[in-house]
Structures are given as C-alpha cells and as structure tokens.
Amino acid sequence: MSSYALPRPSGARTAVAIAATVWFFGASFGLVAQAAGMGAVAPVVMSATTFAGSAQFAVSSILGASGGTIAAITAAVLLNARYVPISISVASLFHGPRLRRLAESQLIVDESWALSSRGDGRFDRRVLLGAGILLYLAWMSGTIVGVVAGDALGDPTDLGLDGAFPALFLALLLPQLRTRTAVLAAVLGGAIAFVLIPFTPAGTPIVAASAACLLGLRRRA
C-alpha cells in the first residue's frame, strides 16, 4: 500500500536505543521485585529464564500484594502466551539441531522480533538474534543493577520510556501495511485487542487478536 520502508542502516542504532530503554526497565524490575519480597537472586534468575518484561512485572506486583502463587503464575503465563504466535511467525528462520533452535528461540522477545520484521511479512534472522542478544544483556545487567542499587535510579515512566515501545511497534507496523489484506488484518487485530482489554486478563487480548490472521485464508486481494 505505501512505499514506506525502513532505512536499514538505522537497525543497529535502533537496537541500541531500545536496549538502553530495556535496561532501565530491567533495573526497575530488579528494584520492584526485591521490594516485593522476591529476594536478590530470584529476580535475576527470572530475567535470565523468562526474559519478558510485562510478565515479570506482573509477577512482582502480584507477589508484592500477597496475591498468591497461582495468581502470579496464571497472569504471567497468559501474558507470555503471545510468544506462541510470535515464535510461529519467525519459525522459518531457525535451522539445525533441535537443541540449537531451542536455545536460539530464547532470544525472541517483543522488541527483537519487531525489529527483525522486514515489512513484507518476512523476518531477518541476523537482526532477530543480534538484537535479541543485545536486549538480553541489557535486561540481565539492568536487573542486576536494579537489585543492587535500584534506589539510585529514577522511575522509567518519569522518562516517558513506556511510551517508546508502542511507538516502536507502530513504526514497524507501518511498512507491513502493503496489501489490503494486511491493512484489514491489522485493523481487525488491533480492534479485537482494544475491545478485550477491559474484559479479559492481560495477555489474552493479543492472543485473541491473532485470530485476525485467518483473513490470510482468503484469496489475495
């Protein structure tokens, strides 16, 4: 539809800007997780294994409010269920032995995935893995600093960093809108998410929105 295309050379610089933002949120997570009674080691182990901000923040806020183990697990699992459709969208980038694919797939996170999208429905393996490693290091080191010295840092929302992520996703959505079907699917997916936000647990709106992809069964416009 539009001829909008990402200027490729800015890919690495964008990854660095996003990594800096992610670092701040990692530090914020380390701080609030410790304040929520998770101790110093568990938040770091969680960042290393889960590596997904929204679910980790949900866990720390539920445990901090004595919301219970089951509630914390349920919220986080629902929030991260979106990684099923997200990982399916980039499945073709992964080759080789199963164990290697398993290890590399852990570098999939919203931002590395979004940055690796090329606008034509395809994804760039080098960007996905490169940005994934950078973001992983940022998230881990941020968490450690947050656990150790989180008080010294400000709240990332004071810096407006929470507004940076949706803008990034929007900027990466625009070049995707090249066909009528893609536009329809994006609008439908966004509408499904919007309508479900007040009525379903966090995470569910994104998973439900992926039903809009079924428009791809129609003949191409």
Partner: protein
Amino acid sequence: MSDVWLVVLVVGVATIAFKATGPVLLGARRLPDPVSGVVSLLAPVLLAALVVTQTVGGDNELVFDARLAGVGAGAAAAAARAPLPVIVIVAALATALARVLF
C-alpha cells in the same frame, strides 16, 4: 521450595516452551500455502495488537494517558520519515512531557 522460586520455575519453563514453539516444532519446514498465508499476517496483526495494548492497556481497563501523546508524536515522526531511533526518542520525550504537563 518457596513460593517465589515455584513461580520463577513454572513461569520460566512455560515461557521457554512458548518461545520455542515455532522454532522447535516447525523450524524451516515449508508450510502449505493456506497456512503460510495466515502466518504471513502474524507480523501486522501482532504488531497492531502490541501497539494497542501498550498504548491504552491497563489493569483490566482501558487507560488513556501520556503514552497516547508519545505514540502520536512517534507516528508524526514516522510520517515525516524520521529514522527509527529518532522515532523512539521523540516518543519517549513526548510521553515524559505530557506526563509533566497533565
């Protein structure tokens, strides 16, 4: 095992499995045409859903706050064909500014 470690373990294992779904179960296998038509729409659909949930998503409610200003400013920067890092920084600045002002 304490409750905290139980949560860390279960959520960690579940998330690792979620992220591995496509790469491990499908990998580079070629998909039948109708399926690949559906899969190729995942990028625009999930990006749109992420934009919506991260702009107005709250704790089981729609929240219209400073993030809207950030996304609006980011959209304007994108329309002006600003490079991605600039879009991201403009969005953060606009969000911070709106938060101070309102």
